[in-house]
Symmetry: C2
Subunit: 361 residues, 2 copies
């Protein structure tokens, strides 16, 4: 048993290209963001498990003895186990307590924690009594993978707490990374957390958050891009709330109404993702400015296509206009209809990107 | 020989869908506009031929005796003859006189007139001494087919003047239309006028202007749409000047740089034209509002695609935004990069469309 606090972190993500098209079997490219979620786990000696989520204003704790009777019902064998059932999730929300209501993000976060805790405890036969504090640089519900980063942090901490993975830090090290095999176990468990939170997630977000870097997703197959350059991206949150489900359904409806038009449009988005993948690979060998101009073209074209398939928003257009007036190229990222836009920044330009752009709004 | 004035007219055109894609072998749909060019031809007894173009502020006249020596050099056999050579056109611009400069629209218009006059006179062995006055509701150089309407009017008048086609008006009639066979001769001659003015035109503009209605163009094949409803369209001229040649070259360059992306985009535009054709046909049987909502979707999608292939303009976006705030749907028409936008108006709404929209700019 370790005595000190363990601090770990996992990044959020953005979709570079392929949002929506990915639902219809096309390639999407996702990349880790330099905005992270942090977790500090400290052992407790009082037989309690506590969860503090300052971003959500939520603080909960349970007796280990309360949780023990639940173990049997939440036993899972990774990775082939059934996904969390709606009944299990409802039961955990109830058990979690707090007066948030079942749909509240606090209830969902607590249910995900309890599900992961009980799964790991059941599998490894240990109920670690710990205080877990999770805080994040990522806004919630903005399509930046905050829930996946949360699940990855919890999975890493709980697997370590149960002795399933090593203590990664060597004497004298400040930071360390788990091995590929350990990260794989973390990723698979984190996916269960994502299932509790989202129902039927693609697995892209937890994979990016676990592995970092960039990855390619197509029809359930995730592969990590071998070598990608570090891209500087300005992220703009329109703060326009939207429903991913409704947006996805809208694209589906359009595909049914105009199949001969929508199919080549989605094929175009697929081609953009593949072209982008090739450019990123070429950039690691030759980081010339020419590659940036091609990346910018892809950003522009995809933004028009995303508008064309009906997932744009006037405020996203405004972001594109404002950044364009600075010679920059932007597109929505994620579900669209609001949410966030990404703007590609060339190296050496707009070092203080945000500051340079804010006054123009 | 007829004694009175003959007045005839021909319409301008808009491209509904398929601009730019048509250059790459895709379908385009063009339709006649309710804005026309008019020609009045009056016989003269003084051996002169005069051409008045009040829209261009141009007034020219020649002695028939001056023109006679040119006949041999401009003899053409329709329709298999060679297109007008650059040398012929230059020679005619010089002959036309006026101090406009060779690139001026006045010089080009005079050269087209002289080319058509000499072609017809040579073929039919008559040099009609007439005063020709042409005026138009169509702006020049806005992509609305003003040059084609001009060529069609000239072709009709000159063919009639040489006795090649009938006097179409029966006793007591106010207006009439030439027969299909006569219109075919007019169209072929008008195409020669377009060649003088544009070098390498597609033939769409003169065909729409000759036949009226709507037509479909693909890879040099023009077919008239059998039955189309009358669409009410608001036309907005951004008055942003642009070069069709440069815009076409830009699309070509993009196609060479990103073939895997541009090809499905152009295929999408092709699918939009074909879908639109089907909807127009269905509308003549069942003019329900549902068809309009589909036509509006096509307008929106194509506008985004045209932006995607790089032929948009901020002012065209502005037209789309303003009309959208009135629940209307707009796209650029023609070459883009400025020029005109069309806005679809549903029947019964915005009876005074222009007046309702102007104050919002």
């Amino acid at each position: 048993m370790w005595k000190r606090s363990l601090v770990l972190s996992a990044p959020g993500k953005v979709i570079l290209h392929g949002e929506h098209a990915v639902v219809h079997g096309k390639v999407a490219l996702a990349t880790a963001l330099d905005l992270r979620t942090f977790l500090r786990m400290t052992p407790r000696q009082d037989g309690k498990i506590s969860l503090q989520l300052p971003n959500l204003g939520s603080q909960l704790s349970w007796e280990a003895a309360e949780l023990r009777p639940l173990l049997a019902a939440f036993s899972v064998e990774l990775p082939e186990a059934q996904p969390p059932s709606a009944e299990q999730v409802e039961k955990l929300k109830e058990f979690a307590g707090g007066d948030y209501g079942h749909e509240a993000v606090q209830s969902v976060a607590a249910a995900a924690f309890l599900y992961l805790y009980l799964s790991v405890a059941s599998k490894y036969g240990v109920l670690p009594t710990v205080d877990i504090l999770v805080w994040s640089e990522l806004p919630t519900g903005a399509g930046l993978g905050s829930s996946a980063a949360y699940s990855v942090c919890l999975a890493g901490a709980l697997l370590f707490g149960c002795g399933a993975i090593s203590y990664p830090l060597q004497e004298g090290q400040e930071t360390a990374r788990w091995t590929k095999e350990e990260l794989d176990v973390i990723n698979r468990l984190a996916f269960r957390g994502e299932q509790v939170i989202h129902g039927n997630p693609s697995g892209v977000d937890n994979a990016v958050s676990t592995w970092g870097g960039a990855l390619r997703y197509i029809s359930g197959q995730i592969s990590v891009l071998k070598s990608v350059p570090t891209l500087r991206i300005l992220l703009t949150n329109t703060k326009v709330p939207r429903s991913t489900k409704i947006l996805v359904a809208g694209v589906k409806a359009k595909l049914l109404e105009f199949p001969t038009i929508m199919e080549p449009m989605l094929a175009t988005i697929d081609a953009i993702s593949r072209e982008c993948e090739g450019i990123l690979e070429a950039m690691t060998k030759d980081p010339s400015q020419e590659h940036y101009s091609r990346l910018e073209d892809l950003v522009d074209i995809n933004q028009h296509l995303l508008n064309g398939i009906g997932v744009g928003h006037a405020l996203l257009d405004r972001v594109c206009q404002v950044t364009s007036s600075h010679g920059l190229h932007s597109k929505l990222t994620g579900a669209g209809g609001g949410g966030c836009a990404i703007t590609l920044l060339r190296p050496g330009r707009f070092r203080r990107g945000r500051e340079a752009l804010i006054p123009t709004y």
